[in-house]
């Protein structure tokens, strides 16, 4: 009988990675709505990066006052109108995309490694004391809805974008810990992990080279699906004044300020509000596409 030489399907060399990518992007592009999401996300990111070039009145993004052109309803010069200080709402909205995106990237960038490492360590040692300590600690953070915990932490710190980010991180990492924990504690019983243990591989090698790669697709899925949520929480924080401070524009703050002048100056509040929805919706559609592409069920 021939010796079974099947290796773990690991994308080692470049062409294999490329094939993998092609397969995933094919799966992703089968759904038209995911493509709409992707396109929308690209537009948002482009707008945010090139805001000073795209915004019609880039100087309005800061402390700018022009009472002569205050409170103009949407017209050809000011598509979203102007606010009570005469600043172009469209320009400010475009600049506000930056803060919202930065928030999402920052939070997910900080939270993923922390949560994943905690989850891996706890899951690999599941049943031990380390597992109990780590996972009970994460339960404490999950005992509150994330918005409340983020509000409490953000309120304690000085209100800046960075601190708002930290506040969301505090309430967010346990979800990654939980996800990875669940995966790791079941993967650790697989034969290839036992084989590695028998050969005498170090814990470090097993956790990062055997267990982690098999968790990655779920983690990536969660990251893609979370962007919209983080933007939502960030908008809520800035809505109550715990995010980016004026005069830098933030979507939530713009809605909150605009709400004070309802119904006369409806455009100051409604357009940023709709942009929040557009942003979250696009990232959710994109995230759904990533999930469908990475899910193994219908390979």
């Amino acid at each position: 009988m021939e010796v079974h030489k099947m290796k773990m399907p690991k994308a080692t060399d470049f062409s294999q990675k490329w094939d993998n990518f092609k397969r995933l992007s094919h799966k992703f592009s089968r759904s038209r709505i995911s493509l709409v999401g992707l396109f929308s996300v690209v537009v948002i990111v482009t707008l945010a990066i090139f805001a000073p070039l795209i915004a019609p009145y880039p100087e309005h993004a800061g402390a700018f006052v022009d009472y002569a052109h205050a409170s103009i309803p949407p017209c050809r010069e000011h598509l979203f109108g102007t606010d009570i200080m005469g600043r172009d709402v469209l320009s400010r909205t475009i600049f506000a995309l930056r803060g919202a995106l930065l928030m999402a990237v920052g939070v997910i960038g900080i939270v993923t490694p922390i949560g994943v490492i905690v989850g891996l360590v706890a899951g690999y040692n599941s049943g031990s004391l380390i597992d109990t300590i780590l996972m009970r600690t994460s339960d404490v953070f999950l005992a509150l809805p994330s918005l409340v915990l983020a509000l409490a932490v953000a309120a304690v710190l000085r209100p800046t974008l960075f601190n708002a980010m930290l506040a969301v991180c505090v309430s967010w990492w346990p979800w990654y810990a939980r996800l990875t924990y669940g995966l790791a504690s079941s993967i650790r019983n697989e034969t290839f992990v036992q084989a590695a243990q028998v050969i005498g591989a170090s814990h470090f090698h097993i956790i990062f080279k055997e267990v982690l790669p098999n968790c990655l697709s779920s983690i990536f899925t969660k990251m893609a699906l979370d962007v919209g949520w983080v933007i939502l929480i960030g908008a809520s924080l800035s809505f109550v004044g715990l995010g980016e401070q004026p005069p830098t524009p933030a979507l939530g703050t713009m809605v909150a300020d605009g709400a004070r002048y309802l119904p006369e100056l409806w455009w100051v509040c409604v357009f940023p509000a709709l942009v929040i929805v557009w942003m979250i919706l696009s990232f959710n559609l994109f995230g759904d596409g990533v999930r469908d592409a990475l899910s193994p069920e219908e390979a």
Binding site: M135, R136, T137, D139, V140, F141, A143, L144, P145, L147, V148, L151, A152, V153, A155, V156, R158, G228, L232, A235, S236, F239, V240, G241, G252, V255, G258, A259, L262, P263, W266, C269, V270, A273, I276, V277, I280, L281, N284, L285
Partner: protein
Amino acid sequence: MNMVFFILRRLALAILVLFGLSILIFIIARVIPGDPARMALGPRAPEYAIENLRKQMYLDKPIYEQYYIWVKNFLTKGDLGISLLTRRPVQEDIKEFFPATLELVIVSGIFMAVTGILLGVVSARYRESWVDSFTRVLAYFGIATPSFVWLVLFILLFGYVWPILPTVGRLSRGIMPPPHITGMFTIDSILTGNWRTFWDALLHLIMPAIALAMGGLSQAARITRSSMADHMDKDYVTLLRAFGVPNRSIFMKYLLKFSLIPTISILPLDIAALFANGFIAETVVNYPGLSRYGMSAILNKDLNAIVGVIIVLGAIYTLVTILIDIIVAYLDPRVRLIRRAA
């Protein structure tokens, strides 16, 4: 027996988690820069008054001793300390503001559950109909729209453009609150037979309640639909059909119970999260509830009030999670013991 053990174990863990939460919040609340006593009394207060207040609040003691005193007072007397903002015991404040929020959450939760499940069931029953398309679109937008955005849009539409609903507070000016029985205006006014007050209180609830419900509602509709659609293609349904069981009773008797399990395991958490989303909605419409109280406590760094509100919310949230586990176990014996008791 196993079930009792399961519940007891969950409760014990919940108490541990709440203890952890209180420590966490205690630390967070105490690292606030600035002197809370000074903030409470204002910049021109005399030094001795501030010294007194600091003593009264045990701020002169190290943090672990402060925590010990706080826990002891809470466990023995149910005492959560004095709010710096209202100058009253926090537990009194919470007692006063909680019913308003509870009322809002109940109305919102009922709306969320009924509409969400109904939309899901109808769109699964009539797949590819207009209800189904509507639910699909709603599911995308409902989840992507923060509740404060819904609220602002509702206020604009139904408060100003087509003014049919009040935009602030719990009652219109000139209408007396009903006598205090439960603290929930709608229930109190029904109990005392005061229909005008009931109607007015209900009108004030509609906008914030629906705005809060939108997210959970769309999620519930989507989950119910997909779960029901899955079950409809199962063999046991085909078998029932073959036996000539009428469609109606297949639907009501068999399909509904099983396909609602995923919805039921999500809905109560969404409802408990309403207490949190209320933080922002209540501020927008100036609704005098616990969340607005908590929000102003957070913004004014009112230590005892922050800790009190957060512990209450944490307790509710934790209890709801346990409740879900019990309900789901009751509905679906398969999960009863497999489910990790965590």
